[in-house]
């Protein structure tokens, strides 16, 4: 899956979770969104794992510095 496709699906996840409108773009990071704290992070990871049917390995998610890298990680876990 291409990064752009992943981001499009991530937008759907965001719309279901964030109270405000948050646009899923590659350079976005948690610091840019006020309501994106560690509670939100847990919800987000669960939602992403369910949406993309993937399972991240320990420590992986926090290595992603922005949404683009997170999308790449999702794509990597989708590929067998």
């Amino acid at each position: 899956m291409k990064q752009a496709e992943v981001l499009a699906k991530l937008q759907e996840v965001f719309d279901g979770i964030f109270l405000e409108k948050v646009v899923a773009k590659p350079d976005l990071s948690a610091a840019d969104v006020e309501e994106w704290d560690s509670l939100m992070q847990i919800s987000l990871v669960i939602a992403v794992e369910q949406k993309f049917r993937v399972r991240f390995r320990v420590g992986e998610v926090e290595t992603a510095r922005n949404l683009g890298e997170f999308a790449d990680l999702i794509a990597k876990r989708i590929e067998p």
Binding site: I17, L19, L39, A47, V58
Partner: protein
């Protein structure tokens, strides 16, 4: 799909301006308690409890408790939740050590946690909810894990058992072992979130713990419901008695549905034996309804198990009010269970304080549906709970007896009442705490105190506190009244006076007042001051001090005070033989 963050939206909907002081809640333990604490905040808010929170450092709760100058104490909590780390509770010896040695180690670990809780209570005066340990889901060790107490599995189970059995009344246990088992241990554990951020378990499990904690916190203020009102047709048995007849209804072991209804009755009987009052409220022919209870061989519940019985064609909301009047219990302590959504809806409209439980069409689900609201969970089970239904039955016999005697003094004399008045006894504390938490009507000030607070009063020389028990020829009514008085100089101030409404009009209040003035005199006080704080429910005692000759000295909408000089009180003579008085050994 359930997201933690959706709780935020829910909590926002429920945010109301609260007049209640905010609960100061400390969360400490062996895990990272963020974001658990935020879930707790939201779930408490949904229940109408606003909180200020203190979050302990990760795995620092032992020193936070032991160091009297730690920020934990500076926070001045009302309540602390302690969540110890189950991973740290391991047996240090060998799997093959003698079981006695392993058990001693488990006892030691439990005592360590309980001692910490006690230390915290003594230093802070706050209450404690102590979590026990989730069990591990390791397949390893196989069947051998239950042949030793040295395995993580069996060692933690042993600690949990000791914790529960040894915990003093003021330490409430949050049964995390049960929560993880109910969810499924494998689903409650989450190794990744432990390694990544030291979480106690999976996100779903965090919600389980937060739900349970908020339930326990809320139930400290709002006691359990007292009365369960039941429909008959399609509720206690299958079918309609007026149409199907006593042979046609489904009940008993001959069919699966009949078995389910019988099991529901057994559960109701267990509730009744625990002190929940059962009542019938059914649109039915009275004689035919009664016949089932008297004649059907598979009925578990009999008429004697019901404190009230209304089978007629009046609206259920009217019958509920009649039951409340008969039992002298407010309708806000009622649960109404019915299979029919229309009846639930009508009751919701006309008796909005009554909580309705829709049992639905499948009797196999009735018990779960009734339990889901957690209305009848006792903080403690007291002797009085186990006796309550019998006491209401005695009360009915008394009423019948009173109807046969025309003269009130003769009736009271014939009851052969014996009273015992006693200063607060530590053994009575659970019952005293229960009355303080639950009494609404005959309660002059409705000051609620926790067990810890009540225990604190025992050490205060400026407080005199006593209870009264009463029994008569029909049986023992148990501990039915509580008085807490504070000596302020030469004034004997009645901080709390409450009484179970079951014993109204039996001269108990006269004997209580006699005792108040006797103690006031012994304490060297010149006058007694009574306080009445009006609530929606305690109107029946609004005039009681004036009936005893007190003079009103303060009269605002929220607070009324009354005074009477000790020398001016006329001791009342009653038909109660008082065999013991407060602060007198005997």
């Amino acid at each position: 799909m359930f997201f933690l963050s959706t709780l935020r939206k829910k909590a926002k909907l429920h945010t109301t301006e609260s007049v209640q002081p905010r609960l100061r809640l400390a969360l400490i333990g062996g895990y990272n308690l963020y974001p658990l604490h935020e879930l707790v905040e939201h779930l408490l808010a949904i229940r109408g409890i606003e909180s200020e929170r203190f979050l302990g450092e990760y795995d620092n709760f032992v020193s936070e408790i032991l160091d009297g100058s730690s920020p934990l104490y500076a926070f001045k909590p009302d309540l602390a939740f302690i969540l110890p780390n189950a991973r740290h509770c391991r047996f240090s010896g060998s799997l093959l050590d003698a079981v006695e040695r392993q058990r001693e180690a488990a006892v030691g670990a439990a005592e360590h946690l309980l001692n910490l809780a006690q230390t915290f209570i003594e230093r802070s005066g706050a209450a404690v909810i102590l979590a026990n340990l989730a069990l591990p889901d390791d397949l390893d060790l196989g069947s051998f894990r239950s042949r030793t107490l040295g395995a993580d599995w069996s060692f933690r189970k042993a600690i949990n058992l000791e914790l529960g059995l040894r915990a003093p009344a003021e330490v409430q246990i949050c049964d995390v072992e049960f929560l993880s088992a109910r969810r499924g241990i494998a689903a409650a554990e989450d190794a990744r979130s432990w390694y990544e951020s030291k979480q106690p378990g999976s996100p779903d499990f965090l919600v389980d713990v937060a739900q349970e904690l908020s339930h326990l916190v809320a139930s400290r203020k709002q006691g359990p419901k007292k009365v369960l009102v039941l429909d008959l047709d399609h509720t206690l048995w299958g079918g309609v008695i007026a149409e199907d007849g006593i042979e046609g209804i489904e009940l008993g072991d001959s069919s699966p549905r009949g078995e389910a209804f019988k099991a529901f009755q057994k559960y109701l009987l267990a509730l009744s034996e625990r002190g929940v009052l059962l009542a019938v409220c059914s649109k039915n022919d009275h004689a035919r309804a009664i016949e089932v209870f008297e004649k059907h061989p598979e009925m578990v519940l009999r008429l004697e198990h019901f404190a009230a019985f209304k089978a007629n064609w009046d609206p259920k909301s009217d019958n509920l009010q009649r039951i409340a009047d008969e039992l002298r219990v407010g309708v806000d302590s009622f649960i109404f269970a019915d299979d029919n959504p229309a009846e639930i809806e009508i009751v919701r409209q006309f008796q909005p304080q009554v909580e309705g439980v829709l049992l639905g069409p499948d009797p196999a689900e009735f018990i779960d549906r009734l339990q889901a609201g957690r209305y009848f969970e006792p903080r403690n089970v007291t002797e009085e709970d186990l006796e309550r239904t019998a006491q209401y039955r005695q009360e009915r016999r008394r009423t019948e007896f009173a109807a046969s005697v025309t003269d009130m003094p003769a009736y009271l004399a014939s009851l052969e009442m014996r009273g015992t008045i006693k200063e607060f006894d530590p053994l009575d504390l659970p019952r005293i705490a229960q009355l303080i938490a639950r009494s609404n009507q005959f309660n002059l000030t409705t000051v609620r105190r926790s067990e810890t607070e009540i225990r604190g009063l025992l050490k205060r020389p400026d407080y005199l506190c006593f209870t009264m028990r009463i029994e008569d020829r029909f049986g023992d009514s148990g501990l039915i009244s509580v008085v807490i008085a504070k000596i302020e100089g030469s004034v004997f101030v009645l901080d709390t006076w409450l009484m179970s409404c079951r014993v109204l009009k039996r001269q108990v209040e006269d004997e209580i007042m006699n005792e108040i003035f006797r103690l006031a005199e012994v304490a060297g006080c010149a006058k007694v001051r009574g306080i009445y704080l009006p609530t929606a429910k305690n109107g029946i005692v609004a005039g009681i001090y004036e009936e005893f000759g007190f003079v009103r000295t303060e009269d605002s909408a929220a607070r009324k005070e009354f005074e009477l000089e000790v020398g001016k009180y006329q001791m009342r003579s009653t038909k109660i033989r008082v065999t013991r008085r407060a602060y007198e050994a005997g």
